[in-house]
């Protein structure tokens, strides 16, 4: 048959799902994504600020590795972010969209601060710290338990509910600061700066080392819990299919509540570490958006706690570096956010190319 003119234009290319990809190829794609994101960032830096992009990148590194102090600050940032990521992971694995980590951390922190402020100099320091730890954990649990129970009992939407709890926590903290700071300023200074009551001790002269050790241990425990414990297995089954869970006799409500207690407890712990270990004060920006960033860390690592060390390092490194760029070059902090945004966009976007391949329509005529 003679080849007639085709009636419709052919598409230039189309997408097809990839078969399983080798791990090194996947990492090659991820590496390429990071390099291309840096190139795009360089273009933007040149166009917008006329700075030398190489110098800007040097500043990016200096933000985390420039001095010993900056390095420890980055590690502490990493530890807190990782801690919150570990907290949201079991909930997310169960497909319970806990968007309330921010509020759970904040309320947990507030509980610590109440004790630190009110009875800081009245009881022995060790007792105070233990009391603060327990109070924070209970506070985090309380903040997570409301949405969990309502979801389990009446199937309410947990995303909205956890999100709203954030605002309640913010308002409570604002209220507490108003009560505590007589001058009417909305900023609270260091608490107990003379007695250091309720401050976590420095280890080996490093202020943040205790925080880091706690989170490191937690990472390993969480990895084992999710992979090798019966409860971790139940979380996976409920997350993958509630019907399957019911079919094999798992009490889905119980698992939802139990897992959210765990999630809230760890958020509360993060709040405690922030108040007692890092800031020694409280503001409504205590979690500083990490409650949401943690979601990204957890997803990027595909809910694997060990991989989360890498992803939270990446985010902490970028955030520190971006801040450094902003100060070094006298740029608005927005440029730092733009750069972080671009890099993260590329990192998330490259997962698409790991799962799909683009086929050119031209190729199909081959052979």
């Amino acid at each position: 048959m003679s080849k007639n003119k085709k009636e419709t234009k052919e598409p230039l290319f189309h997408l097809a799902k990839r078969p399983a990809i080798e791990w090194w190829k996947a990492w090659l794609i991820r590496g390429a994504a990071i390099i291309s994101s840096l190139i795009v960032c360089a273009l933007i830096i040149v166009v917008l600020t006329k700075q030398n992009p190489l110098e800007v990148y040097a500043a990016l590194f200096k933000g985390s590795f420039g001095t010993q102090r900056k390095f420890w600050a980055m590690l502490q940032k990493l530890a807190i972010l990782l801690c919150i990521s570990l907290a949201v992971t079991p909930a997310f694995k169960m497909k319970f969209w806990n968007l309330g980590a921010e509020g759970q951390v904040l309320f947990g922190g507030l509980c610590s601060m109440v004790l630190m402020f009110e009875i800081g100099d009245k009881i022995p320091n060790l007792l105070l710290i233990i009391a603060m730890l327990i109070a924070s954990i209970l506070g985090g649990i309380l903040w997570a338990l409301f949405p969990a129970v309502l979801k389990a009992k009446w199937g309410t939407n947990e995303s909205l509910f956890t999100l709203m709890m954030n605002y309640i926590a913010i308002q409570l903290v604002s209220f507490a600061i108003m009560v505590w700071v007589p001058s009417g300023s909305s900023v609270m200074g260091l608490v107990n700066s003379s007695t250091k009551a309720g401050w976590l001790p420095s280890l080996l002269g490093q202020k943040y080392l205790l925080n880091i050790i706690v989170v490191a241990v937690l990472t390993i425990v969480m990895f084992i819990y999710l992979k090798y414990s019966k409860q971790g297995y139940e979380i996976s089954v409920v997350g993958e299919s509630e019907n399957t869970a019911r079919y094999i006799g798992i009490n889905v409500k119980k698992v939802i509540i139990r897992t959210m207690i765990l999630s809230g407890a760890l958020c509360g712990l993060a709040g405690f570490l922030l108040v007692a270990g890092t800031n020694h004060t409280i503001s409504k920006d205590l979690a500083g958006g990490d409650g949401f960033t943690a979601i990204m860390v957890s997803w990027l690592a595909k809910f694997n706690p060990i991989t989360m060390v890498v992803t939270s390092f990446l985010i902490a490194f970028l955030q520190r570096g971006a801040g450094e760029i902003a100060t070094n070059f006298n740029l608005n902090t927005s440029i730092a956010d733009i750069l972080t945004g671009i890099i993260i966009f590329f990192i998330i976007g490259c997962e698409f190319f790991i799962n799909y391949q683009i086929k050119s329509t031209k190729e199909k005529e081959g052979k």
């Binding site: 052919e10 097809a16 414990s229 019966k230 993958e240």
Partner: protein
């Protein structure tokens, strides 16, 4: 012969590493019915989806009336006067038939539903459909919904009609009606493709038959010059015997007793209505019925997954001799009573298994609680997984492969294997061979027979009446949530079951409670 209505040359399509179609050729002429025959997973639907614009071929050419065309979307397909009736209907429940039919048409001028209704009536009389254009979809039976889908493509002026397994949801009587309509359309000069894996239908309705096997085009035959065994051989690739052994039940005693079971859905629709029957050990009890007649709810009530409004479920324990009520018990409580109940649900990956977990972790689903340790023990599940992979010839790269990467047949082998490994006294299976090739299907039938011979009470919900009649000792027929009859599998025939399937049916799929 004249120019074909549609001609496919060397069509290929791959999904990931799986080649769904490899260089397939197909020709359909106006005024003929072509059967596209092949086992499940042989690529029939994929091929037709490429003609109707749902998938885009990786390679190959499509010619319509001799001209090469490119079909990129369902709209392109309509423009080439191709209409496909899918297995799963795509209708808006709260719209009337006529509203659904004109939905999405981009006609100029004012929308005139009366005119559309008249046109629908005109098409109905022309081809002998029986439909009221003002009836709402949710009030319709499955066969009426199918009629709406067919009229929908005719209304759009389709000249080439593709029907994907149109008889799967119909009773034998409804199938006859459909075939009469198809013959009329053929006389009218339409080109019709019917996708099927049922041989007797191929022989009954089609002029020619094209066979696909594992994505490859095997050949096309004139229906008049072929027979079942030749077609089977083309379809499967080797001669196989199509007999299922059926032994006489031995030492049958009552195992499970269902009395006056009532069940309503959340919306207040009565889905099970006064169901009573007994299941005996050492027999296979078949359950037949049109899809959605209450089969799912019945099995789930017994398994403790569905709330029951009225009635009793009584289990006669062969070990202790005691009788226990299973009503209002959770699956956990049923297990704790010592009832060894195994259940292969219809929705394998959505209920029976977890698609993203590997075979070992799926083996654990039933047994992971054993022991006091807070940690999982993967040793036994691993050896069970290995045993099932060897015994049931599961094709998988390893026991660590996520289940969702396996083919339908292998998924089912894993599920059935796990459920049987628990040494059940009652085994419930729902549509266990759906989507399986012939060899896997027979493997499953043999496993069920083995269980029966071990004295297990087997409940088998099936859709293929031929299989039910060959395999089961007794067949219970459900119609609109009621038991419309229990017949002996050795003496009954298809038309008897077919009549029972529609007995007392009142339009929809259930009756709304007052």
């Amino acid at each position: 012969m004249s120019t074909p209505a549609i001609e496919l040359k060397n069509i290929s399509k791959t999904f990931g590493s799986i080649a769904a179609n490899k260089g397939v050729n197909l020709t359909v002429y106006n005024g003929e019915i072509l059967s596209l025959l092949g086992e499940n997973g042989s690529g029939k639907t994929t091929l037709m989806n490429m003609i109707s614009g749902i998938y885009f071929p990786d390679a190959g050419h499509i010619y319509i009336d001799g001209k090469e065309v490119v079909i990129r979307s369902p709209k392109d397909a309509f423009d080439h006067r191709i209409g496909m009736i899918h297995q799963h209907f795509k209708l808006v429940d709260i719209f009337t038939a006529a509203e659904n039919i004109v939905l999405g048409l981009e006609e100029g001028g004012r929308f005139n539903i009366k005119e559309a209704e008249n046109k629908v009536r005109e098409i109905s009389t022309r081809y002998g459909f029986d439909i009221d254009p003002t009836k709402k979809i949710y009030e319709m039976s499955v066969s009426e919904k199918q009629t709406v889908e067919i009229i929908k493509v005719l209304y759009r002026g389709a000249n080439i009609l593709i029907l994907d397994e149109p008889t799967a949801v119909l009773t034998p009587q409804e199938t006859k009606k459909l075939f009469a309509v198809l013959r009329k359309m053929k006389e009218d000069g339409k080109a019709i493709v019917i996708i099927t894996h049922k041989l007797h239908e191929v022989l009954e309705i089609s002029d020619r038959v094209s066979v696909l096997r594992k994505g490859e085009y095997i050949g096309t035959l004139e229906t008049a010059n072929t027979d079942e065994s030749e077609l089977t051989e083309m379809m499967v690739g080797k001669k196989i015997s199509l007999n299922i052994d059926r032994s006489e039940p031995k030492d049958s005693v009552d195992r499970l007793e269902i009395n006056n079971l009532d069940c309503i859905t959340r919306d207040g629709v009565k889905i099970l209505d006064n169901i009573s029957f007994t299941v005996k050990s050492g027999e296979i009890l078949g359950i037949a019925g049109i899809a959605g007649s209450g089969q799912k709810e019945l099995l789930e009530s017994i398994a403790g997954l569905q709330k029951v409004r009225n009635g009793e479920i009584i289990y006669h324990n062969p070990k202790t001799g005691s009788t226990d009520s299973l009503r209002d018990k959770t699956p956990m409580q049923i297990k704790e009573l010592g009832v060894r109940l195994s259940f292969v649900p219809e929705d394998r990956l959505g209920m029976g298994l977890v698609g993203n977990m590997d075979i070992i972790d799926n083996m654990m689903l039933r047994s992971y609680r054993k022991g006091k340790s807070v940690f999982l023990n993967r040793k036994k599940p691993r050896s069970l997984a290995d045993k099932i992979i060897t015994d049931l010839e599961v094709v998988t790269p390893s026991a660590n492969t996520p289940i969702r990467r396996l083919s339908g047949g292998n998924v089912q082998k894993v599920l059935v294997g796990r459920e049987i490994s628990a040494a059940p006294t009652v085994l419930m299976v729902a549509y266990p061979v759906r989507g399986l090739d012939i060899n896997s299907s027979y493997l499953i039938y043999n496993l069920l027979n083995e269980q029966k011979e071990k004295g297990v009470a087997v409940i088998f919900v099936g859709e293929d009446l031929d299989v039910l009649i060959e395999l089961c000792d007794r067949i219970l027929v459900l119609s609109s949530g009621r038991v419309s009859g229990i017949v002996d599998g050795r003496t009954t025939d298809k038309s008897e079951i077919g009549l029972l399937m529609t007995k007392g049916e009142e339009g929809g799929e259930g009756n709304v409670e007052e």
